[in-house]
């Protein structure tokens, strides 16, 4: 009996040792393959896609317009021309000869379908509100779309670059197949998808730009843990890891053979909700603002204030053209206490802060805010939940919240959605007539200079009595040194069609 046991032990040891050196990724036989390790996506159907994990969708789907990663300019993609005379009626000319991956032709019917789909009440489309301003869509021929809006929107074309506005085929059942078999017109098409594990994308041989994509295959691994993704990168098993923490970025920059790029900053809005206690009183909001020390927030996120990390008290990102530099008020606990006392809270107060605990930087920011606010007597009671649960159960009902917002290249879209009193995602429940008027003016103003003056005034108002703290956190992409031409504009849609490996 003992002999049998002994034999088993030897077998086990031998078995494990043998497998230590077996296996591993096969040689890719001279094919150019880009391997990516990124977060596990939740839902991936455009319309329900919550903006996690961009590699797959941005390679399979395409949009009417594409943004230049360097300059921010809009380039033709599925639309070759776009124009408007009054800002109300928009004419788009579509690219000819484009086919979906399943062979059907891309026509104006598909654009109409994609846009009308946003208004489907059974879908819960994330862009329903953004596109409710469409009054009518006409398709005079297969390659022309005329969109009539309910009111003037000079910057409407930017809305079509939103990541959820991928152009879908009117003949494909995305309700049934959107999660398991995504299908679009993009440079790569889906060959194999193991949900939540991996996706194999291959070059689309009928792509409308014959010289693209440069790579033959795009292999995407969904790995929940960032550290694990990076270990794959270091082991040579993947080439690109979108979204690494600054600590890891530092480690990789020091090591040979890797590089880290920073395409843009993500932002986190801290909403000080204005229609209930305690933040209904502007003094309390000001008290909170006086507690903030951006330097400490930056350090908590391992970023550098002014380089990879920014802070302001308006919804406008620092790097946008519309940003107006307003001197920061500085941390002042005495002033914070004064404002609290004025508001009727001489002994301080407690407020619940809700946030997504598994979203990058969420936990660090929540805890740092708590520490920063404590000396003034503001006790933040932290309530972290997994992201999906946070967004669906708590987000719009919380008295104070931290939420990651996708970059909206044209800030007027964001303002209308989130800070207009009638905005559907008005997380801070802001209700200020002057702000509403300014937002409406911005949306409809054709003259650039005039529009900028509205932006300036709006930002001043926010500093005075706004309901938001705008924290811009580092977004870093790590890759091997031989990966060239990685492009990711502010739309967050990475453009792997240009990327190649030396």
């Amino acid at each position: 009996m003992k002999k049998i046991l002994f034999a088993l032990v030897i077998f086990v040891l031998g078995f494990s040792t043998a497998n230590l050196f077996a296996g591993g990724e096969k040689e890719t036989e001279d094919k150019m393959v880009i391997r990516v390790a990124e977060q596990v996506p939740n839902l991936i159907t455009p319309g329900s896609w919550d903006g996690q994990a961009f590699s797959m969708n941005s390679s399979i789907y395409e949009y009417l317009l594409e943004m230049d990663a360097e300059t921010g300019e809009l380039h033709p993609s599925l639309a070759t021309e776009w124009s408007t005379e009054d800002g109300k009626v928009w004419t788009f000319k579509l690219r000819q000869g484009v086919k979906f991956h399943n062979g059907s032709s891309f026509t104006s019917e598909d654009v109409k379908f994609t846009l009308e789909r946003t208004q489907d009440p059974d879908l819960g489309h994330l862009k329903a509100q953004d596109f409710s301003i469409i009054e009518r869509i006409d398709t005079p021929d297969d390659h022309t779309v005329i969109i009539t809006l309910k009111s003037v929107r000079p910057t409407f074309m930017y809305q079509l670059t939103d990541y959820n506005m991928a152009i879908l085929s009117s003949e494909y059942d995305y309700g049934k197949l959107g999660e398991s078999a995504p299908m679009g017109t993009g440079p790569f098409k889906l060959s194999q998808l193991v949900p939540k594990e991996s996706a194999l994308l291959v070059k689309n041989p009928e792509y409308w730009e014959p010289s693209l994509p440069k790579a033959e295959e795009l292999r995407i691994y969904f790995v929940a843990d960032m550290e694990a993704s990076v270990s794959l990168l270091e082991a040579g098993q993947v080439d690109v890891v979108p979204q690494v923490s600054p600590v890891i970025a530092r480690r990789l920059t020091d090591a040979a053979g890797f590089k880290v790029v920073s395409p843009y900053q993500e932002h986190r809005f801290v909403a000080l909700v204005a229609d209930r206690e305690p933040f209904s009183n502007n003094d309390v909001r000001l008290a909170m603002k006086y507690c903030i020390d951006p330097q400490i927030l930056a350090r908590a996120c391992q970023g550098v204030l002014g380089e990879t990390f920014f802070y302001n008290e308006t919804p406008i990102l620092n790097r946008l053209a519309q940003f107006k530099e307003i001197t920061f008020r500085g941390r002042n606990i005495e002033k914070a206490k004064e404002h609290l006392a004025k508001a009727g809270y001489p002994k301080g107060l407690t407020v619940e802060l809700y946030y997504a605990s598994d979203h990058p930087y969420g936990s660090e920011l929540a805890q740092t805010l708590k520490e920063l606010a404590a000396p003034a007597g503001i006790n933040l009671d932290l309530k972290g939940f997994p992201r999906d649960i946070y967004l669906s159960q708590y987000w719009l009902n919380a008295p104070m919240s931290i939420t990651g917002w996708g970059v909206r290249v044209d800030p007027s879209m964001l303002l209308t959605l989130a800070y207009h009193s009638e905005g559907p995602w008005n997380e801070s429940h802001m209700n200020d007539t002057e702000v509403d008027d300014l937002i409406d003016s911005i949306a409809s103003e054709v003259d650039n200079a005039k529009r900028q003056s509205y932006y300036d005034r709006l930002q001043e108002l926010f500093v005075e009595r706004g309901t938001v703290l705008n924290i811009q956190v580092p977004y870093l992409v790590a890759m091997r040194s031989n990966v060239q031409d990685y492009r990711q504009p502010a739309t967050m849609l990475c453009q792997y069609k240009y990327t190649y490996i030396e």
Binding site: M1, L20, T45, P121, G124, L177, E179, A228, S231, D388
Partner: protein, 321 residues
């Protein structure tokens, strides 16, 4: 005959257990707070669309109706459709993950069973001596480490220093688990540590008891060589309790899989359960928990039967052990 009666009685009870468990699991998950329709449609959903979705998902039916609908589906092999990922059949992801977890569990078994039995026996035979102290202490130390702790320590060693084993369990595209067996090693080792401690200690005390029993001492006094006595007599009886322990710990092992798979990103049932819970994907949670329960109940049953078969007292006299 006695054995057969016992067998059928236990088998019957096993099915009853499963049926009752399935109801309890269903109830537990369905009565949890949180509106499923809201989770699916998000915050911008209108009350009408929420109502429509609830209707479509059959959430407005009475709970017994919903239970039987679900249970009926399960018996037919249809695990239902994921609430969260619309249109995705649970079966399409589920069975692959289950297969992976079974391989992981078996690998862990393969590691820890021979090792812990062997060392347990050695410790028992050399009770009180230095070898015993070393083995016992090692067993105690590893038993005290929750799996994630031993996992983290392994990750530190292998990622920082040794770098020969992957610290994350990714299966390259186009390949399957069998071509990448090395991703099993670290997760299985993490489980092994805890189980080793527990089983080796049990085995040791069982061995000590047997070594002190009358017939063993008599055999040694009669002059039979010690080694012979150990092999031929003591071992058989000492191993019996351990079989029970190993079997009963299968359920515990499957629970531990959640931790280990999450830590290593292993694509198995445990990590699937975690992501189901994080997204409140009710049918998926139900399917995962039901399966884990199934494994436990079946392994308990098999252990019981194995024990009864091997234990002559039960096999031939048919009493309750």
């Amino acid at each position: 005959m006695e054995f057969f009666k016992r067998f059928s009685k236990r088998l019957g009870f096993m099915f009853v257990t499963l049926a009752v468990m399935s109801f309890i699991i269903f109830l537990l998950v369905e009565i949890m707070p949180g509106d499923v329709a809201q989770t699916v449609l998000g915050q911008s959903a209108t009350p009408e669309s929420l109502k429509a979705l609830r209707e479509a998902m059959g959430l407005n039916d009475p709970i017994m109706v919903r239970y039987f609908r679900w249970a009926g589906g399960i018996l037919k092999g249809d695990l239902g459709e994921s609430f969260y990922m619309r249109g995705v059949q649970i079966s399409s992801i589920f069975w692959r993950r289950v297969g992976h977890s079974i391989v992981l569990a078996l690998t862990a078994l393969l590691f820890y069973v021979p090792l812990s039995l062997f060392f347990g026996v050695v410790a028992g035979v050399k009770a009180g001596k230095f070898t015993d102290s070393v083995i016992s202490f090692f067993g105690l130390a590893t038993m005290a480490l929750p799996e994630f702790v031993s996992g983290v320590i392994l990750i530190t060693i292998f990622s920082v220093s040794l770098k020969i084993l992957p610290i994350t369990s990714v299966i390259p595209i186009g390949e399957n688990l069998w071509q990448n067996l090395k991703i099993l090693v670290l997760p299985a080792l993490s489980i092994t540590f805890v189980m080793f401690g527990y089983v080796s200690r049990m085995q040791r005390s069982s061995m000590i008891n047997v070594m002190n029993s009358d017939y063993v001492r008599a055999a040694i006094l009669k002059g039979m060589p010690r080694g012979y006595v150990i092999f031929r007599h003591a071992l058989k009886n000492a191993l019996l309790p351990s079989i029970t322990i190993i079997g009963m710990n299968m359920g515990w092992l499957f629970g531990g899989l959640i931790v280990v798979e999450t830590l290593f990103g292993f694509p198995g049932l445990g990590s699937l359960t975690m992501s189901a819970i994080k997204t409140r994907d009710i049918p998926l949670i139900e399917a995962c928990v039901l399966f884990i329960t199934l494994v436990f109940v079946v392994s308990t049953f098999i252990t019981d039967m194995l024990y009864a078969y091997l234990n002559p007292r039960i096999r031939f006299k048919g009493g309750e052990a």
